[in-house]
Amino acid sequence: MKPPPFDYHAPETTAEALTLLAKYGYDASILAGGQSLVPTMNFRLAQPTVLIDINRIPDLAFIRSAEDGGLHIGAMTRHRSAELSPLVAEHAPLLHETMPFIAHPPIRNRGTLGGSIAHADPAAELPAVMLALNAQFRLQSQRGERWIAARDFFIGLFATAREPDELLTEIALAPLLPRTGCAFREVARRHGDYALVGAAAVVALDAQGRCEHARLTLLSVGEGPVDVHAVYHLLSEEMPSADVLRAASEAAARDIDPPADIHASAAYRRHLTRVLSEDVLTRATARARGSH
């Protein structure tokens, strides 16, 4: 369990990193927190010939609130920093609620938000949460920069829209609508394991208590984070009663094509999807009702 040889670069500025990415592109892997990359290299499942270590670039780690109430998070922000950040707690309560589910404190101390997002593991929490929050990602390269929405970024199993010469540098979260509630829950074999199924919900109500916006995303039930579109259609402009939420949860369980593996059959994943969807939609709705 030792990696094959590779060249190692440790740029100290984003510009240097982009130069290296432009040069090595397809042969390079970007080392952020290394919590997924390093084990896969030791298993020789990943064999990059060039490693670009961006841990020495100081200006990639930050959490800032925007004037509109949104949040900007640097890609090298450690999980633990986001977990403990009052700004995240205030402006992105869904992210705040989710962070403790990600692995264990030693892993969160090293792991980064950008790394988890760019890795795009279908069983990871952050892609699903980013999708639920309509996050925008900033991709920079020597060719310039672009912003891309989470729904366009995650395109398949460990696959994203990031080009090989691009570096994910920033995550932008828009402010939540008034009367918004969020909830996250997952079922894992042991705390900190990859979830068998996870669900994130965002529900915004209008002044009359009807659903103005609803989003349910799932993890570990598809090739990437799964956005359950049916939920939006079922809830839109409805009073979110228990029956409506249950119907939406059943729709979520019906619409997915979950994988089977040694820890969970497809039927069990479908069952958990229904259970967790109902749970997060119910809690998100209650929170939306409780907020002003």
Binding site: M1, P5, F43, R189, R190, D193, L196, I262, S265, A267
Partner: protein, 786 residues
């Protein structure tokens, strides 16, 4: 003799070194010029080898040597049969053991094809990828029953089929008693595979001293002396030319008692290259190349009277041996013998077939077949209790052997080749105590109905078991009073965390009247003590502990004799205390033990003919048979019916391992065993596909319970001494792990008892469980549907 330490929960002598990272483990051994070995292992479970081309690998910079089977010559013989089967009439056993490197054929994933020796482990692993192996995959067989089918792929082509062994044992006549039974319960029980997953993987460092013609080997073995003997025999060396050191080891649990291919290859290569060689097994290798345990299928029947008395048990089972069977029949024999448990079973028919499959070799791992026997017996009793409308505690109590029944001869042959005779036991108090501690009556009469009414699925389990421990043949110890006044104890058993440095010291310290921290124990270094067999079968405290006791007793006799002469008093007037021997009532008239040791080793002058120097003695202890420990585990669980996650709310262990040397260490043994048991029954499972590919060979997918998954345990002890050894002790190493499967099954079934599965209730007849499996068992309609 004052028992200042025996029975006291004193802290462990070895912990300061372990906790500070100052203890030596095999990977801490660094020798000048040391090379690193990596092993090329088969990706296929069953394949014909057509050729191995290592040319490119040999040319890689940093590679020193590559060895294939051809390069090994005569060294590449099938390994030894480590434990021969006992003499049982009609027994069939086909010995098939692994060669260091596979020849012609691969029989399991991970079987070694070649080794690379290089200047670093990194280069060695790079070179593995350079080796081209021409393998022709053969149809593989993973399933025991399929392996016995007439058209199954043949694993050892010189055998008629894949049957490795067949054994029948019978006591009384089950067939005769079956007719008289009021109730017959017959079920199929399945127990799947797991692995010990010790914290430290295996590792070996070998250094051949050409000038002294001496081989020094550091090895993560539980049996350093047999390894030393095996290496000497293999290389044609005198045993005194080989030193095997088993330093601190991060967990043994049984699989480290083999004689693995790497244990021959590393020393042999060091001798060939005349440079030290290190091999440290990585976690991925460990999943394939270190032995597994557990897979059995039982078809069992119990016959009872209408008042719940057992008339007999009939059990026929399959035992998965994996690709080879180097450890004989210890596992399935333990199953046969442990199934009887604490019960009076007058008629018992037990038959097993051991099956070769294309999977990793199965050898004993903590519990070593005992789990399966307990699972089958306890489940049969649970089902019988339901059928008869009897309480679970009551049906057990009714069938216990009573204190007057001991010694009790079960008449079948145990793993130590002798009839299974229980030395002593007192079972009813342990059951009563466990039921009392967990509040059994109150729970089933009040709490469970109340919680059920609230829609909560809570259940209780209570099971009992015995554990054959402390078997022979023998161990030895040498006790020496040093001139400094400290006491050295040397014994041949290896140590893997059991607390030997403390419990042996306690035994010796009490006899010699010294502070326990002044007793320095050395285990597992063949140059320090070179007789013995190893650490296995919960026998360290029983066999080596009593050897330490005997040696310390002999030293005590020498001390009293010499001090009596020096102080000119009768021996019976002397006291040993605080590192001194002195005249009773006159403490100032005495000698420090260190000074006495110096006087016992004169450098000039004359001694009486026959005088032995020093205050030292070597003694051996071999029990006539094993000592039988027992216990009861009880548990309360809650199952979330929506997710099928299981929450253990209470866990109670009442245990009887005879006299307790150190309650603190015993608690640790129980806690660790229960934790491992919980892993084995609810988290861990080695999953194979139909071509015998292991699908979860990493800790991402092979789940070990963590601290958050293991409950607080409440323990108590009952002491029924063993009459078979002077200390009255019994083994405790496996007790925590053995009954957990039976307990989980009963408690979860109790929690989900109301779930109607189309006219019948949940019956758990398999291990391990998981939330997914519980979902499948309780949602039969969802099976197959996605």
């Amino acid at each position: 003799m004052a028992t200042r330490y025996f029975g006291k929960p004193i802290r462990r002598n070895e912990d300061p070194r372990l906790l500070r990272g100052q203890a030596l483990f095999v990977d801490d051994v660094h020798r000048p010029g040391m090379l690193h070995m990596a092993v090329l292992r088969s990706d296929y479970a069953h394949a014909q080898i057509h050729g191995i081309d290592a040319k490119a690998a040999r040319e890689r910079p940093g590679v020193v040597a590559i060895y294939t089977a051809e390069d090994l010559g005569d060294l590449n013989q099938p390994g030894p049969l480590l434990v021969a089967p006992p003499p049982i009439d009609g027994l069939v056993f086909h010995t098939r053991t692994q060669r260091p490197l596979a020849v012609d054929k691969i029989r399991q994933v991970g079987e070694a094809l070649a080794v690379v020796v290089a200047e670093s482990r990194y280069v060695a692993e790079d070179a593995l990828a350079d080796i081209v192996v021409d393998l022709e995959p053969l149809d593989a067989v993973a399933d025991m029953e399929q392996a016995l089918a007439p058209n199954a792929p043949r694993i050892h082509e010189d055998l008629d089929d894949n049957l490795a062994a067949h054994v029948v044992q019978e006591k009384g006549s089950y067939a005769a008693i079956r007719e008289q039974a009021d109730v017959l319960i017959k079920r199929r029980f399945v127990y799947d595979r797991g692995t010990a997953a010790a914290l430290e993987n295996r590792g070996i460092v070998a250094d051949w001293d050409e000038k002294n013609q001496h081989l020094k080997v550091w090895d993560t073995t539980q049996a350093p002396i047999p390894v030393r003997n095996g290496l000497a025999a293999t290389f044609g060396l005198a045993e005194s030319q080989v030193q095997v050191i088993a330093p601190f080891i991060g967990g043994g649990f049984g699989p480290k008692i083999m004689f693995y291919p790497e244990e021959i290859l590393v020393p042999w290569i060091a001798m060939q290259l005349k440079r030290p060689v290190k091999w440290i097994e990585d976690r991925q290798e460990n999943f394939f190349a270190t032995t597994h345990e557990r897979a059995q299928i039982h078809d069992a029947e119990i016959a009872l009277t209408s008042d719940g008395r057992i008339l007999g048990v009939h059990d026929v089972f399959l035992h998965d041996s994996g690709a080879y069977d180097p450890y004989g029949l210890t596992g399935p024999l333990n199953t046969q013998c442990t199934l009887l448990g604490p019960y009076d079973i007058p008629n018992y028919y037990t038959e097993f077939s051991v099956v070769f499959t294309n999977k990793t070799i199965v050898t004993p791992y903590r519990g070593a077949g005992r789990q399966h026997g307990v699972f089958v017996m306890e489940r049969l009793l649970d089902f019988a209790a339901q059928e008869l409308g009897l309480d679970r505690v009551e049906i057990r109590r009714r069938n216990y052997l009573t204190p007057d029944d001991f010694p009790h001869n079960h008449e079948i042959i145990f793993q130590d080749f002798a009839p299974l005779v229980y030395d002593s036991g007192n079972y009813a108090p342990a059951l009563a105590r466990a039921a009392e501690m967990i509040g059994y009556e109150k729970f089933i009469n009040e709490e469970q109905p109340r919680l059920h009414a609230e829609g909560r699925y809570v259940g209780i389990g209570i099971v009992s078991y015995v554990e054959g421990t402390g078997i022979g043949p023998y161990e030895g110890a040498r006790v020496t009073v040093e001139p400094t006044g400290t006491v050295s104890v040397a014994t041949g058993v290896g140590t893997q965390g059991q607390g030997h440095f403390t419990v042996f010291a306690q035994v010796v310290a009490d006899l010699l009247g010294v502070d326990v921290t002044k007793v320095r124990v050395v285990t597992g270094d063949t140059n320090t003590f070179h007789w013995g067999t190893g650490t296995f079968a919960s026998r360290g405290a029983v066999v080596a502990g009593n050897a330490c006791h005997a040696a310390a007793q002999a030293v005590r006799t020498k001390i009293l004799k010499l001090a009596g002469e020096k102080l000119e008093v009768a021996e019976e007037d002397l006291v040993l205390e605080n590192g001194r021997v002195f005249v009773r009532g006159v403490p100032q008239r005495g000698i420090d033990l260190g000074d006495l040791a110096t006087q016992a080793n004169p450098l000039r002058g004359a001694v009486k003919p026959g005088t032995e120097p020093g205050l030292e003695a070597t003694s051996y202890f071999g029990p006539e048979r094993g000592a039988t420990a027992n216990g009861v585990h009880a548990m309360i669980v809650e199952v979330d019916p929506k997710t099928m996650l299981v929450d253990i709310q209470r866990y109670v262990v009442v245990h009887d391992c005879g006299k307790v040397i150190n309650p603190l260490i015993l608690e640790g043994q129980i806690h660790g065993g229960v934790a491992q048991g919980i892993g084995n029954v609810f988290y861990e499972q080695l999953v194979y596909d139909d071509q015998a590919q292991l699908l979860n060979a990493s800790f991402m997918d092979y789940l070990i319970p963590t601290a958050t998954d293991v409950p607080h345990m409440e323990t108590d002890h009952i002491e029924t001494p063993s009459p078979l050894n002077p200390l009255g002790v019994k083994g405790a190493g496996e007790a925590g792990a053995i009954p957990v499967g039976a307990l989980f099954a009963q408690a979860i079934e109790d929690a989900l008892g109301d779930v109607d599965l189309g006219g019948h209730n949940l019956k758990i007849c398999e291990m391990p469980l998981s939330p997914n499996r519980l979902f499948e068992l309780t949602h039969p309609e969802a099976r197959g549907a996605a």
